[in-house]
Symmetry: C2
Subunit: 317 residues, 2 copies
């Protein structure tokens, strides 16, 4: 039975590999490695080198992986699963490989028609969502809005424990490219964005006219030239505008799909969640946060619990 | 009299210097040189090297310059003039330098509180606007909306020939940084944006939900993954979304300040003007275009006509 056996769970994104040797709810050991982007054509070798200490000791182990490892730039492409989808659907759709005698399951991403009417995709976040569902069983009942902020923020509608729709925002990446490569970053090098008055002012500006975000963004520059904004405050102001634009745009498209008094669940590192919580508060929406760290592992555990026969079946072959 | 004398007019922006030797309405000669960004600390030398053939022949000549040459990274800072402002106001506020026996007039930029309620600035475009006013005298009567699209698009409200308010959009620069530095450009290198079905589709997407632009932008990626969009079409689609976001956001903030049947005046190169005209048409706004090339020179001529006593006065000193 899989619950008694050790297994390996891995979150293998573009930039990082995080591996866990698990047994039941216990993490026996951890390891890290390079992201998918740095391992083109040699993912199998990188993985088995990283887990060699564990396989040397435990022999053949089931392996379950999520993230960009299942993308076109990964090890093998795990096709996107159409929403609505839940833990059982994801477990049933694992891409199953055999490698060096081990069974490796790769979690598929999800796809849907977004609330804006276009195609949307996620890969890796679906596993974090399952982790959030495991951590907060109340999310499995009724309708809930989840936000996983980041490079590409994901806003997710959960209905009775199933992901029914979601939408992506260019949030963290928009901030980064404007900061590093546009006039908005000029002279602000070395000043990190922080949660404070300049951030709040940026939020308020974005929320005042979200349909004019391309115009408001320029205030990051014009306020330094004409309104006495300190260069040290500009990155915080810009961050506030980008996050305000993300939150306002997502609520405009999805806000009416969940009762206004149901807290938005923010799945993120606490500092990032606090920025989004401030934006939601400004718009009158309650929120609560779940530390993003650990949700991938929790989600992988949920999937392997559902997928146990898949791995067990192979032990008999 | 200045109208009989040759004079030198120059548009000196961040990236380019364009110089004209003029007499009345005739351009006697042209020259080009490096932009302000490449000339830190040696602008005077660069200028006089460039105009040496003209001063060798004609002696002391009045010089009038517009653009970033008057900014903090330029030759001397010409303070922003507060709106409302017209040709006479700009002429009266020329920053006047003496250099090597010549009088050099630098056109100030403009500042205002934008229709969005924040500070805004322009430097260089004020001279193009005066050129448009000279080319289209009907713009000097009633209310008109001008759009000068570009790296930082400017939307300008003209009332009875005066610039009363304006707003800036991060348009061309937003497109460039997303294209060159974000995931939205991945795999699309070498494909230039063109006006065609993919551009129109991007426009329509942006206009469908302008408050969700950070989310819609991601469709540049997701449509390639899920909707069969060819990588060659992605830059055009992205361009459509950025221009759609610019036009929708500007009209949301300023569209009601001008009668809906008064054409928006686009001041730009014809190919760029056509992209903005398509967006305006989709939103039911008529437009007409004025080739941006040459408007700076026309504006400088308008200013020097008003400022003639300023230069003439010095000839007597």
């Amino acid at each position: 039975m899989i619950h008694d056996q050790p297994f390996i769970a891995g979150d293998w994104g573009t930039s990082n590999l995080r591996l866990f040797l698990c047994q039941g709810d216990t993490v026996l050991d951890r390891a890290t490695g390079p992201g998918v982007a740095a391992c083109a054509g040699k993912l199998e070798t990188v993985l088995f080198d990283a887990i060699a200490p564990w396989t040397d000791r435990h022999g053949i182990l089931p392996v379950i992986l999520c993230g960009m490892v299942g993308s076109s730039i990964g090890w093998a492409e795990a096709p996107y699963l159409e929403c609505p989808a839940d833990t059982a659907d994801l477990a049933a759709s694992l891409l199953r490989l055999k490698a060096r005698g081990h069974i490796v399951g790769i979690v598929p991403g999800l796809t849907c028609t977004s609330p804006l009417g276009g195609p949307d995709v996620m890969r890796g976040e679906e596993t974090q969502i399952l982790g959030a569902l495991a951590a907060r069983p109340e999310l499995a009942e009724g309708r809930h809005l989840l936000c996983l902020p980041g490079t590409h923020s994901k806003w997710v509608l959960l209905e009775e424990g199933r992901v029914t729709r979601f939408m992506t925002a260019m949030a963290g990446e928009l901030f980064a490219v404007l900061r590093q490569h546009s006039v908005l970053g000029r002279g602000t090098e070395g000043h990190a964005p922080v949660q404070g008055p300049a951030f709040s002012q940026g939020l308020a500006r974005a929320l005042s006219a979200p349909a004019s975000l391309p115009h408001l963004l320029f205030e990051t520059r014009s306020r330094q030239l004409r309104a006495g904004m300190d260069a040290a405050d500009a990155p915080s102001f810009l961050s506030g505008m980008v996050i305000g634009g993300d939150v306002a745009g997502a609520l405009a498209a999805m806000g009416d799909k969940v009762a206004a008094d149901v807290p938005v669940t923010l799945v993120a590192a606490p500092a990032l969640a606090a920025l989004y919580a401030e934006a939601l508060t400004m718009l009158g929406r309650p929120s609560h946060s779940l530390d993003g760290d650990g949700q991938s592992l929790a989600g992988l555990r949920s999937i392997i619990a559902h997928a146990a026969p898949l791995f067990a079946g192979d032990d008999r072959s």
